[in-house]
Symmetry: C2
Amino acid sequence: MHDTFVSNPSFFKLDATLKKIRNYWQKNFDAQGKDITVDQWLLLENLYKHKRITHNELARLTSKDITTVSRIIELLVKKELVERQGSTDDRRKVYVQLTPAGVNKYKDVRPMVLEMRKTGWKDLTEKDYQELTRILDVIYGNIP
Amino acid sequence: MHDTFVSNPSFFKLDATLKKIRNYWQKNFDAQGKDITVDQWLLLENLYKHKRITHNELARLTSKDITTVSRIIELLVKKELVERQGSTDDRRKVYVQLTPAGVNKYKDVRPMVLEMRKTGWKDLTEKDYQELTRILDVIYGNIP
DNA sequence: TAGCAATAGTTGTTATAGCAACTATTTGGT
DNA sequence: ACCAAATAGTTGCTATAACAACTATTGCTA
């Protein structure tokens, strides 16, 4: 734990990298006329995987605030990619799931996402991936 | 470049880690009554280092959109931590620098930031830092 | 079982992010 | 010298992020 990295801008580098990725994804979505944002895509991905979940679970799965999830879902409902269903057993809960159009959107966009991930990882190895994962997990766990 | 990581959510992990750090920093700023946001701090840091620079340079240094910089500077000016000066040689340019109160704020907040960086890097080595830096730099460079 | 705490979700507000459109200047090519 | 292109910055708009306050339920406990 020397000053060399205590004073170094790792936060800045994480932020800059993430913005670069996010902008690249968004530009590609726009260029292909996908009419979707990066974060809307992340929710679609989780809804495809989990079929039918509450706002709360979706927030936990995506590391998003529940208010943010609520508003993104609102936009996805307007686009008719997602539908909400009030729970009958616990009337506080609202379940969310993809519409058929939402499933199509997922299948339509997914190949692009895989390609873009490949682009980001060019010249990096499986070991690099594991190292990145490990280091980020430690940092995440260190923070109270 | 196997499917194991092409399909894995590295974007998500970066995003989640960054949010964790950002929220931790902000909570600490608030708890100590620093009356400043994380991104405002990043600008202060750069202004302290570079003394007197334009919005444009600040945007480049921080990986922020120039419109975002313009608005954050506006808030810092309202807090009287920063002052703007129109350039005389090129009248499109606006130079920005810390006020004496801004310098004090920087010196007041900096020890907290160093402590929080230490917390994030607990149990990690200098080599880990270099690995993270290397991997993020490669990803950054891969993206057009 | 009455009442209070906890939980799920929405709404309001402020900040950051990025694009488009705009003004004001400066630069470059002819 | 003139006009088009480029540059610096601001403003308007939409989306994401987070906190606080609020409603509507459900669970817990005295």
